[in-house]
Symmetry: none
Subunit: 221 residues, 2 copies
Amino acid sequence: MRLLIVEDEKRLALSLAKGLTAEGYAVDVVHDGREGLDRATTEPYDLVILDIMLPGLNGYRVCAALRAAGHDVPILMLTAKDGEYDEAEGLDTGADDYLTKPFSYVVLVARVKALLRRRRAAGASPVHVHGDLKVDTAARRVWLGEEEAELTAKEFSVLEHLVLRAGEVVSKADILEHVWDFAYEGDPNIVEVYVSALRRKLRADLIRTVRGAGYRLETAP
Amino acid sequence: MRLLIVEDEKRLALSLAKGLTAEGYAVDVVHDGREGLDRATTEPYDLVILDIMLPGLNGYRVCAALRAAGHDVPILMLTAKDGEYDEAEGLDTGADDYLTKPFSYVVLVARVKALLRRRRAAGASPVHVHGDLKVDTAARRVWLGEEEAELTAKEFSVLEHLVLRAGEVVSKADILEHVWDFAYEGDPNIVEVYVSALRRKLRADLIRTVRGAGYRLETAP
DNA sequence: TGGGTCCCATGCGACTCCTGATCGTCGAGG
DNA sequence: CCTCGACGATCAGGAGTCGCATGGGACCCA
């Protein structure tokens, strides 16, 4: 599951990102409305957390623009203080839920989970397909063609992270940050070890090495 | 199935909790409106029983706030005496049903079941079939092939949660969260114990362990 | 008081994960 | 075109974690 946080308060944004990453989500953060809109329209997010008070373009506008462009990604609005949020306007522009600051972290996580759950109940499938590779993130199962591959938890997490960014180059540092603990201080070699295992269990040419930069999951066959 | 009771009369709240627990629900109780709202927004309840006369925040307000935040959990209102309840207002704020005190316990249980059933009717049937496993969540009965299995309340609740998300990996934390009540702070080993019991009473390969992630109820092959 | 459910504790067994070392490969610059 | 250095791939083994089974105690209801 991939989340986008659009929030200009950097401390808050960072702490949310940290926590949600620990929950197992792939999290991107941007700090202004314009960039938020760009990212949300170009990348496949499962949920957007959107502050209302933003430089560039405010949250309502971002939300409305997204809906106008036909994106139905769930949107969770954040409001700076009680009363600022105009509920009618929020619902009009197409937000799915909102939270009033200050809120506790557990509340946020609960809302995020609830929205994703609601989405899933509506029939959205968490299955990613690239060529003959099929990854079901909810079932934690992987197929290569007809055959199912048996992956360990870590192997699956690494693959999931690559799949969520299929076609992009993902650095080892990025993989370490998302799959391992934030404060992990180990050898980046560990990533190589897992990529190696994935190539062995799946197919060698599925994950391309980009020397000096990282890895890229091949999309087109 | 997890229920929240928001009721300041402690004797009543306690007796309802006791009865509903015996029915196999995981029940949490809070005594004022503010905390009720907090809980209902942060924990994944399947139904909320909400008194109108409450300290802190009255029932209408709690209900309206829940709906405004996008939560569609079924809500059963309790009114202190005939005439106090303004049906129009109750329905406006988004309650699904109401009961006028005094009411009998069996009536309450019937309404609770009806609401949960209605919820299901909107989507899935109360009977789930996966291979030769048949689970009737309304009657709380389980068959394996022709033979009915005798499960305890907790065993059934665990199975029910797995069945509702058949094919997906469900973490132990998630099972704990949904099957046990808020006050429970036990270790995840208890989930292992119940899964073990289910495998023994049903069939070992029905619930698959996904090491490091959780359990998955196997769907059709 | 007795049967049953529920929860906890312990020990064992199996698997996963990481470390460190060695080997292989790429590419820049001479 | 060759050499060298840096980066990446692979392998094996031990430590640690995770999951399972089992037995016993607390509690509840008949």
